[in-house]
Symmetry: C2
Subunit: 490 residues, 2 copies
């Protein structure tokens, strides 16, 4: 299908030169507008080896202000990157607001190459197509412009170009085995590319098929389409995005008000159980390390609910070389100027490691919602975006455990008062805690909505009843142990 | 992929009964809200023969107010429908604002069945998938809720059900040959369905996979998902929709101000040529009738530009049994309460016929834009929507000719004055014409934007320079003749 989309016909050289000059000028102007309007732009150049992606890119950036764009040539994933979800290295590199990022080769290349070589199996491939569609749509929904070009040349043209490149000592190194494999299996590749382009050709991020036989003509097509795309994106800037239907299977969860909080553990029992569970978790940590299973543990809960102490007891069981605790505060400027999940994507553990998040991406639908740090449209969209994020983690093979640490209002007041009156605990209580406490009811509405909408079958919430902190600590250990054991059984 | 989405597990009978009662009540409440908020809802039930779509639908509508919903059982297209684009009979039946339409079987059934039987070829099939995606997205963008269910049962279960139905005299008639074919070729069908569901599983109109082994459980899934979908759609109501990137190849067109209007034809030449061209068109009309090629001719232009007289000369060449002129005024209430293209879809000619539109769907980006009859978001979106509409016509095999009848302001004033001063022409001039004339400059901006953005390679605009009406009439005839001749050569 996509093959039918070649845009227009190459104009005469004179017309081409004039249009190119104008288009370059217009694009330079657009860079200013992007900067002013804080639009983040991601440009993806994919296509056949030797189709001229690199040289077109080289020409285009000549006219741009280097402070406001970056280019990445995406070859093979590094060892570090291979131990992360496959989108990790791309999510990592998304532009800041007001800047352009050019990818010379993208997730398309990685995924189709793996599929063609048989290292990515058909089922896995289908899953990745879904992931890619979600990724591109999420970027778009969060205000990014994503423009995708596929550079097209015929088999014979590619063969000739590769031959010419090889014969020249200065360019011979640019021809790798993959390019030659591609040329020999041109039809098979085209079939796979065609299906890929079709499958990922979304209304919000369509593919543009670039006739690449002539370098200047290719540059003109890319430049004009970039200008056009930026103009439309600027028109869309700030427009609210329709909320999507939920398509994730949800687990039925209780409301906070329905949760009983009178569980208690005796001291002796607590110490004995804590010891036993920590030993078991320690064993499991070894096992997941060897089996390269990543584990993500997320903590949310009321102030003074006992998150810190709870995490401490969990961490105490773990080998420090294999886990990390990420305390999450408000985002830094460089984090704020990107997709709100960026700072979590970049903090994902390696396979075999454990990441514990002390507060999480759920800030979007709690504090950011209630304090107005994002728009209503933003937090309403976030339930699906977060479910999609966790689906990525699940597809990757991660164990995901999400805790809501629950106490009642009286218990919070007691603990606040105790903190205020105990000199060595005073650092733990701030004016903000008191202010948040006044908004308890609003928070309860938000937390209930969050738990109902994000308890998916692959990443359900677990409630830790924490009026008795000892009870909550044991339950946390038990829950993590059960989740890991279940995964190991698979 | 889609097969992994089965929603949850069937609860115990008691829980199921309680949830079902609640869900039915909630859905009835939603019907009221739909009515109040003027939300149009399109529910599609697809799936295996004997999976129970009909009986679930029967249960669901029992609790609804019959004044505000309709059901259609979509079996084979009628002869009338077969002579129209394949989406015609579905577009025809879309709900009015505030109402629900249920489709028992949809475009999915028609298209996959054709593909399985070999009557829809692979290339055509791919095109139809694109058409379906655009159709569903356009409905969504225009405020429709589209909910799609696929009823799933296994091969053995289907076989048993078909056997049971056949054995009973009262139900035997319900089993048709197709159901049995489907059951015998279950795996092949599943493969095709799976790909179809994947390809058309859009974020804005996802598929829900209904586990249909148990009737009540199937009803519960459908009812709960309907309630959930309606709630989200109500939240989205009135939200502006992001404008899409253009993906259609455009033809470069001049601005109105660049068009020279001093062409002239002498009287004798005019009469001679008119006669010759009308004869030729008349021959061609015969030919397209026999070859079953549909022709769509669209007229837009300034008031008093001479559209009426121009159309008359064209129509004079045609056999009245094979063409229709559609004068387009402002929409009736039942047209206004549907997608703005509905009244044009329903006026499409049969194959082999000619439809002439005196004013068109371009009203959206001219009068509706300038008079505020639609929102800015609506008309900005319309360029792509109209290109997509014309792409449907092109895919269907239609010849599309679009005329902009151009005059200058002085000529218009002359003609207005003449009309005013000539008793038998006075009906042709109204206060509105004078008011429109005052907005000439605004209209010119809109017309220029329209011509630039909707001159696609498959449906370009043609300018009729009409200061000399005779010249314009000959050019119209020539243009139509050339377009038909070109199509006949293919």
């Amino acid at each position: 299908m996509i093959k039918e989309w070649v845009k227009g016909k190459k104009p005469d050289d004179e017309v081409l030169a004039a249009r190119l000059e104008k288009a370059r000028y217009e694009l330079a102007k657009r860079q200013q507008m992007i900067k002013e309007k804080k639009l983040p732009v991601l440009v993806v150049l994919d296509g056949w080896g030797a189709a001229g992606k690199g040289s077109v890119l080289g020409r285009i950036i000549k006219n741009l202000d280097p402070r406001f764009f970056k280019t990445f040539t995406l070859t093979k994933a590094s060892e570090e990157e291979k131990r992360r979800p496959f989108l990790y290295r791309y999510f990592n590199k998304i532009p800041e607001a007001g800047k352009i990022v050019f990818f010379d080769g993208s997730w398309m290349d990685e995924v189709t190459r793996g599929y063609l070589k048989g290292t990515v199996k058909p089922k896995e491939y289908e899953k990745r197509l879904e992931s890619i569609k979600r990724f591109e749509r999420q970027l778009n929904d969060n205000g990014y412009l994503v423009v995708k070009f596929f550079f097209q040349i015929g088999q014979e043209e590619q063969r000739l170009r590769l031959k010419r490149l090889k014969e020249d000592k200065n360019t011979g190194w640019r021809v790798d085995k993959w390019d030659e494999w591609q040329n020999r299996h041109y039809d098979r590749c085209m079939e796979v590319y065609d299906k890929y382009l079709d499958a990922t050709n979304q209304f919000i991020a369509p593919w543009y098929f670039v006739d690449s036989k002539n370098r200047k003509w290719a540059e003109l097509q890319v430049t004009e389409l970039l200008v056009q795309s930026i103009d439309i994106a600027l028109k869309n800037a700030g427009r609210s995005v329709p909320i999507l239907q939920n398509t994730f299977p949800l687990v039925k969860m209780p409301l906070l008000s329905e949760i009983s909080l009178d569980q208690k553990v005796e001291d002796a029992k607590y110490r004995q159980e804590l010891d036993r569970l920590q030993k078991r978790l320690s064993e499991l940590h070894n096992e997941i390390y060897h089996k390269k299973i990543p584990v993500i543990i997320a903590y949310e809960g009321w102030d003074a609910a006992g998150k810190g102490g709870n995490i401490k007891r969990l961490a105490a069981a773990l080998d420090p070389r294999g886990y990390e605790v990420h305390p999450i505060a408000s985002p830094e400027p460089h984090e704020k100027s990107r997709h709100y999940l960026w700072r979590f994507w970049t903090r994902l553990p390696k396979k075999g490691h454990i990441a514990i998040f002390d507060r999480t991406w759920y800030g979007r639908v709690m504090v950011e919602r209630l304090e107005g740090f994002c728009s209503e449209n933003d937090w309403q969209r976030a339930y699906t975006e977060i479910n999609e994020f966790e689906k990525e983690l699940d597809d990757w093979g991660a164990v995901i455990v999400k805790f809501w640490v629950q106490i009642d209002q009286d218990t919070q007041l007691e603990r606040f008062t105790d903190r205020q009156n105990t000199p060595e605990k005073q650092w733990k209580i701030t004016d903000e805690d008191w202010r948040n406490r006044e908004k308890w009811d609003q928070y309860e509405v938000a937390v209930n909505e969050m738990i109902q909408k994000t308890s998916t079958e692959f990443a359900p919430w677990h409630i830790l009843e924490s009026n008795d902190k000892h009870y909550a600590r044991l339950k946390a250990l038990e829950t993590v142990i059960a989740a890991i054991e279940q995964r190991l059984k698979k």
